[in-house]
């Protein structure tokens, strides 16, 4: 009983004890220690990868259910209990489909692009605090790392658009590059104003700075939270900012030529990015894994899914905006507001 309670509520202590125990056991064998470390890193990677895949499967199901709710229908309800196995069936279908390579694609880049899109979103999981001590590595530069790595995904999208040798894909990739670069700025400015309050780039410190509900940064930075949601939504190319894959204009944007497993990778990356944006919003504004009664991990998941639901609500409400409006919105509205927000925060932090 004690052990279960400790595993749920004091995960950091249990993990530390387990690591020390393994370390002692290993030293009795007189083997080099880096092997043990590598085994631990591999275990963590496996755990994160497993979480990522099952989570993406669930988010797709959840997205379809929420979409159905907004459109006054039931959504998937035939495969498994209430359609819970629908995405599993879809994934199996995608896995066994023929992988079609178009004739004139740039073969190497075309093959690499899905991985280039997916790898950054996988790497960001390194600094996502799932719970007390449940963080693969609490880097000193945590949030900076997130920004640096998510910026890389534009490379994958752009190369997917370029390698497809297709005008729709190319336009999609170009749009995505322009969009991600211009929405990065308000996002960074908002994160900066949060960092002014927390005083550290470390994820653990940011969460510790929000130790009680009244200290959550959403109440200190309400405008910042909204700006972060808008910019984050644009960063992950979701409606109403889904211009890179606008169905009515560009067929399917940079994913047009992809099929089977590669297509599945794009989708996996998209839904993982959705989870990541919500997870970072939770960490920065909603106090991370902190909360009464329930275990930290559960609180983290609940909060993250709340933010995901909010983003889905936006998705099924707002129509896609036009390209020039997209740029205008970022440069003329979001960036100045974020600047004003940052300056106001700086002044308040300095004098109060």
């Amino acid at each position: 009983m004690e052990l279960i309670k400790d595993i749920l509520y004091n995960t950091d202590k249990i993990l530390k004890d387990f690591y020390n125990w393994a370390y002692k056991l290993w030293s009795s064998f007189n083997l080099p220690f880096f092997i043990l470390d590598i085994v631990f890193y591999l275990l963590i990677t496996l755990a994160v990868a497993a979480f990522l895949v099952f989570n993406a499967l669930f988010i797709i199901y959840y997205d379809r259910k929420v979409a159905a709710k907004f459109q006054v229908r039931y959504g998937p309800n035939r495969v498994g209990y209430k359609g819970i196995l629908q995405t599993v069936a879809d994934t199996i279908k995608l896995l066994i489909k023929e992988d079609i390579n178009a004739d004139k694609v740039d073969k190497i880049v075309f093959f690499l692009a899905p991985f280039l899109v997916f790898i950054p979103s996988f790497l960001v999981f390194l600094v996502i605090p799932f719970g007390k001590g449940l963080i693969p590595a609490d880097l000193n530069i945590g949030i900076l790392y997130v920004l640096a790595i998510t910026g890389l995904s534009v490379l994958g999208i752009l190369s997917a658009g370029w390698a497809s040798n297709n005008k729709y894909s190319l336009i999609g990739g170009m749009r995505s590059a322009a969009q991600i670069i211009s929405y990065e700025i308000p996002m960074v400015l908002v994160i900066l104003s949060v960092l002014l309050l927390s005083g550290s780039l470390k994820m653990g410190d940011i969460i510790n700075a929000q130790s009680s509900i009244s200290k959550w940064f959403i109440f200190v930075q309400p405008i910042g939270f909204i700006l972060f949601l808008i910019a984050g939504n644009a960063e992950i190319n979701r409606a109403p900012f889904d211009l890179p894959e606008a169905e009515s204009e560009l067929v399917s944007g940079f994913i047009t030529e992809y099929s089977a497993m590669k297509f599945a990778f794009f989708f996996l990356a998209e839904y993982t990015n959705l989870f990541l944006t919500s997870a970072i919003a939770t960490t920065l504004f909603l106090g991370g894994w902190q909360g009464p009664f329930l275990p930290p991990f559960v609180w983290f998941i609940i909060k993250t899914y709340l933010v995901i639901t909010l983003l889905m609500w936006f998705r099924w409400t707002f129509p896609r905006i036009r390209v020039d409006h997209l740029m205008e919105f970022s440069w003329k509205y979001l960036t100045p507001i974020a600047f004003v927000n940052l300056i106001a925060t700086a002044i308040l932090v300095k004098f109060i």
Binding site: F70, V72, R73, Y74, W313, F314, W316, T317, F318, Y333
Partner: protein
């Protein structure tokens, strides 16, 4: 500058309006019909396949084999109508009524042309079949029974006519 701030405020208000509209829809009951389990409630005038129902008062069909329906059919879907023969004389009553569902386009002209309301479009709709032969139907021996609303509707069609006839005779 004032215009700029005004723009932002009107933008936020209109976005919130949109959000409230979609939020209202979340709490509505889904309007989806779970088809194989739930059947749709069809309209009375729905055109399914052609049937020759049994009149429950006479306990017999109403067809007199006058051939008007066969003549009016644009696709020649009503292939053959045979009269009952008693004592070597043909009587005004159908013995055989062969109808080809495969070529029928559900135009309802035969039903409208029928002076005795002997035939009607039923509400059977899942009519696909793997064998062409099975689409050629014999309607008289089928003894189709209408039920519910559709029966009442069908009855009202020829009852009005009989009332009209009585009026004319008077």
């Amino acid at each position: 500058m004032i215009k700029y701030i005004k723009n932002i405020i009107t933008g936020i208000i209109s976005l919130c309006e949109g959000l409230s509209v979609t939020l209202k829809h979340v709490f509505r009951k889904p309007i989806t019909l779970q088809y194989p389990e739930q059947k749709p409630d069809l309209q009375l005038r729905y055109r399914g396949r052609l049937v020759m129902p049994v009149d429950p008062e006479k306990n017999d069909i109403r067809c007199t084999a006058c051939m008007i329906c066969a003549k009016v059919c644009p696709n020649h879907s009503i292939l053959e109508i045979e009269k009952v023969i008693e004592d070597g004389k043909p009587k005004p009553k159908a013995k055989k009524y062969i109808y080809n569902l495969g070529t029928c386009m559900f135009c309802n002209l035969c039903v409208e042309a029928c002076p005795f309301a002997a035939i009607i479009m039923s509400d059977e709709y899942a009519l696909a079949n793997e064998d062409k032969e099975k689409l050629i139907l014999e309607l008289v021996s089928e003894k189709y029974n209408l039920t519910g609303k559709k029966l009442n509707w069908w009855k009202s069609k020829f009852k009005d006519e009989t009332i009209n006839k009585e009026k004319v005779q008077k």
